[in-house]
Symmetry: C2
DNA sequence: TCTTGTATTTTGAGTAATCAAAATAGTATG
DNA sequence: CATACTATTTTGATTACTCAAAATACAAGA
């Protein structure tokens, strides 16, 4: 029913809503979809006419319940496909995002259900991103601590990487910062803009604050 | 580079060429792609301009070497995906054709290579159709015997089913006629238009000639 | 040869998605 | 408050693919 283009717009709106809350400015869609502003205005009007989102003139868009349900379905496909590519086909976690970007529009619900079963119903993808369940429920991940904001000198684990770019993921892997890895913040220097961490005993690592903000951490259960 | 539409035209031309040889009439593409004749003329002109096929006015098309190479790549994706869906995700062989019809355009060469490895380089798909290798070489399957044409009273094996429709495949499965299954033709009645076969000892089966012609058989090694 | 019938092509039109560039609205700054 | 800046919208085109319906070419049959 919905074209790949429409699905991409819906997913972009959902991700922005999850990351920032409230209305999604047109500019966010311009950026996410890499098109010119006029294109977004045109598409948004068409999608609003279809009841997928509400367009507030000069402000931005909000997903309707129908639009959000569709967006969650696309996000579920994206993240299950990523999980499949890494776990089953042994692809590198830094290359699967782009592959999933295309496959999320081609995998049917039937295939997805078989894949979910095959993978034993995973709840997070290789980047630590939560996978919505078949009914569209998704774990709330708002206000989680990152290496930029967490407490120092406590044993933690990497929970999620907030940057899907191959470059950053390759770098994170190099540093031993994959989801599940242990970390401890040794010292945070706000003036210098760096965070000093320990990954393994003796393995130290200094990260810039923007990079540190992309590493979500949780208690080292 | 090539759109899904172009890939579908190329694959249809290749399949027709493999089944009938020589030039592919416009009408064959009309049928295969379920579009109106004028649409085919338009698309064919565009594709000829791109060097994917040669258009002989009022006659039909021939694949160029470039077009054929692309078509073989699409066919390889289609059949590897089908194999994957049946072997790994345990889907029914009668439903995978339609799924593969969409996935063949979304699976990248990188993913395909991993899948090929994972499946241990299969050479035929679940319907017995040969899978082109990574260089586009494909087993020649012209002039193989079918239940309509093969010798009687010799132990044989089903090699391939030439009809991908879910209905026919479900029927074939019911009759125990999956690739690899043993069969023997007991008697052929050209006047009555039927073939009487034995699948298992004691299990007899009577097939109409059109159906029999869709079951490719080979020696029961 | 004339007449049909069928396959193919042409013509005219429409939809989805896009861009470039000009117009506009709203916000922030002096 | 006037000005400037920025985000958004509008306008006018373009590309890819599609259909409906009319025109045309070709191969047979009478
Ligand atoms: Mn996508
Ligand atoms: Mn992910
Ligand atoms: Mn296809
Ligand atoms: Mn097949």
């Amino acid at each position: 029913m919905a074209s790949s283009t429409v699905e991409n717009y819906l997913k972009a709106a959902l991700l922005h809503e999850q990351a920032h809350g409230g209305i999604v400015p047109m500019g966010a869609l311009v950026e996410a979809l890499a098109v010119v502003p006029g294109t977004v205005t045109t598409m948004v009007k068409a999608m609003a006419a279809q009841g997928l989102l509400a367009h507030e003139a000069r402000q931005g868009v909000r997903l309707t319940p129908v639009g959000r349900a569709l967006a969650l379905g696309v996000l579920r496909k994206h993240r299950l496909v990523e999980t499949f590519l890494v776990r089953t086909l042994k692809m590198d976690w830094s290359e699967v995002h782009d592959e999933a970007e295309a496959l999320e529009h081609a995998v049917s619900d039937r295939v997805l259900a078989r894949m979910d079963e095959f993978l034993d119903h995973p709840t997070t993808d290789p980047h630590g991103d939560p996978i919505p369940d078949a009914e569209g429920r998704i774990a709330d991940t708002a206000r989680q601590a990152t290496l930029e904001t967490c407490a120092a000198n406590k044993p933690l684990r990497v929970a999620r990487i907030l940057d899907q770019s191959p470059d950053f993921l390759a770098y994170a892997q190099d540093c031993g910062l994959k989801p599940g890895a242990r970390v401890k913040v040794l010292q945070r220097d706000a003036a210098g803009g760096v965070v000093r961490c320990e990954t393994k005993p003796g393995q130290e690592l200094t990260l810039g604050l923007p990079a540190a903000a992309k590493i979500v951490v949780g208690a080292a259960a």
